[in-house]
Symmetry: C2
Subunit: 247 residues, 2 copies
C-alpha cells in the first residue's frame, strides 16, 4: 500500500476576492486528480480568498491591547486584532500569547498571521468557520471538476512539550477526521484501548512536508489514502474543556 502527496503547482499567490476553487480546480486538472484523492489547502490561501484580511492602519488598539502589547513586545494594533479573535487567553508569558480562538482552537496569536501576507501593513485572520470554508470549497470543486474530493484546511500550530511547529487540521469536509479503533482487537486479541487516531491531523502534517511557504505552494493532493467518507468536521478534533487536563 502506498500514499502519494502531490504539490499542486502554478496556483500563485492568492489575493482577496480570487476564485480559489477555480484556481484549485485547474491545478487539480493539471495534476491528473481523480476519485479517491483528497485535497489539502493551507488556511492562508482560504483566508485571503475569503477576504479575512485586516489593514493595520485601520486598527485602533484598545487599552488592554496596548497593555498586552507592552508585555509581549508586539505591535498593539496586531494585539488588538488578536484579542478580537480570542475567546480566552490560555497563557501569556515569555513573549508568547496563546489563546483559545472564538472557533475553539488553542494556538499562538489566535492564528493571526503577520508573515506571508499581502504586504507588511496587513495581517490575515483564520477563516470565520474553517469547516464551513472546507464544505464550500468541496461543493465548488464538485461543480467544477465532477469529483467529490474531501477537503482539509490546515494551519501551522505550535504545541506544548515539543519544539517546532506542525501543520494541523482546522477545516474538514467530506471525510471523517478521526478513526476509532476502540473495541477492535490487537494481534494478540487484546482490546486496543483509547486508540482514536486523529487522521485529519496526520494528513495535515503529511501535507505540511510539501507546503513550502517561501515558494507559495498552498495545496496538496493526497492520493491513495483510504479515507472514510462522511460528514466530518475538524471541530471534532477540539478537546472539550471538561476533558482537557491542560486548560
Amino acid at each position: 500500500m502506498a500514499i502519494t502527496l502531490v504539490a499542486l503547482e502554478g496556483i500563485g499567490a492568492i489575493r482577496p476576492g480570487d476564485d480559489l476553487a477555480a484556481l484549485l480546480a485547474e491545478a487539480i486538472g493539471r495534476a491528473g486528480g481523480g476519485d479517491g484523492d483528497l485535497l489539502v489547502v493551507c488556511q492562508k490561501a482560504v483566508s485571503k480568498a475569503e477576504g479575512r484580511v485586516v489593514r493595520l492602519d485601520d486598527v485602533r488598539p484598545s487599552a488592554p491591547a496596548e497593555r498586552i502589547a507592552l508585555e509581549i513586545e508586539k505591535d498593539p494594533r496586531i494585539v488588538e486584532v488578536i484579542l478580537g479573535e480570542t475567546r480566552r487567553i490560555v497563557r501569556m508569558d515569555q513573549k508568547h500569547l496563546i489563546v483559545e480562538t472564538r472557533q475553539g482552537y488553542v494556538c499562538a496569536n489566535a492564528g493571526v498571521d503577520e508573515s506571508n501576507s499581502l504586504d507588511a501593513s496587513t495581517v490575515i485572520l483564520l477563516p470565520e468557520d474553517a469547516d464551513a470554508s472546507a464544505a464550500r470549497l468541496r461543493d465548488q470543486l464538485r461543480a467544477r471538476t465532477s469529483l467529490d474530493l474531501p477537503v482539509l484546511i490546515t494551519d501551522t500550530f505550535g504545541r506544548p512539550w515539543r519544539e517546532g511547529l506542525v501543520e494541523v487540521a482546522i477545516g474538514v469536509a467530506g471525510f471523517l477526521p478521526m478513526l476509532d479503533f476502540r473495541g477492535k482487537r490487537d494481534l494478540t486479541g487484546r482490546e486496543l484501548h483509547h486508540t482514536v487516531v486523529a487522521v485529519a491531523d496526520e494528513l495535515a502534517a503529511a501535507a505540511g512536508l510539501l507546503m513550502d511557504k517561501d515558494r507559495g505552494t498552498p495545496a496538496i493532493l493526497v492520493r491513495g489514502y483510504p479515507f472514510q467518507r462522511g460528514e466530518g468536521h475538524a471541530a471534532e478534533l477540539l478537546r472539550e474543556r471538561s476533558k482537557d487536563l491542560f486548560r
Copy 2:
C-alpha cells in the same frame, strides 16, 4: 514535487531477539528502496527486537504503584512498570497518567504499551534511548543494503487541546528533525518569525497514515522527501522545561 509513502509489507510480527535490521533490509529490497528514501519504523517493533518487554508476572507493585493503580483503575503491576520509566508525573486525573519519561518525552503511561504486545501477560517499554536505536538501525542497514537511509522511530502520542492520537518522532538518525526558517523572508519580504518546523513529527504523522497496527505494518519508506542530511536527534524536539509554558 511529490512524496510517496510506501508501507513495507511482509515483515510480520517482531519477537524479542529478532534481527530487525535484517527483516527491514529484506523488505526495503522488495520495495525497491534507494538513495533518497527515508525509513520510518514504529517504536513497538524496535522495542520488541531490543527485548524491552516485561512479563507482568515478574512485577511486584510498590505501595505508591498500588495507590495510583486504585486511583486510575489500572493493573498495579502495569503502574509499577510505568513508574519505573517515569522521571516525573505531569498530570494524574480522569483515569489518565501523563508523565515525563526518563528520556524526557511527555506522554501517557510513560509509553508503556499494553496492546499489540506479545501476549496479554506482557507489556512493552519505550527503547532505552530511541535516538541510539535509530543510529544502530541506520548503521546495520548501511552494512546490509549499502544505502545510507535516514531512520525515524515513531510512537503514538496524545496531545493537549486536541482529540485523538498522532504518530510522533522519538528517535532520529541521519537527518535533521527541525527545519529552521528563521531569518528567511516571506513572499512580501517580511521575516518569517518563529518558523521552525518539526519535520520529523510531520514525517512521523505521515507514516502513521499507513502504520496499521491491526495488520502489523511496522515500517514505512518515505520516497521523494528532500530531507536535510545531518546528525540530528529526536531529543531536539523535546522542549526544555524552562521554555515550556505547560509543565
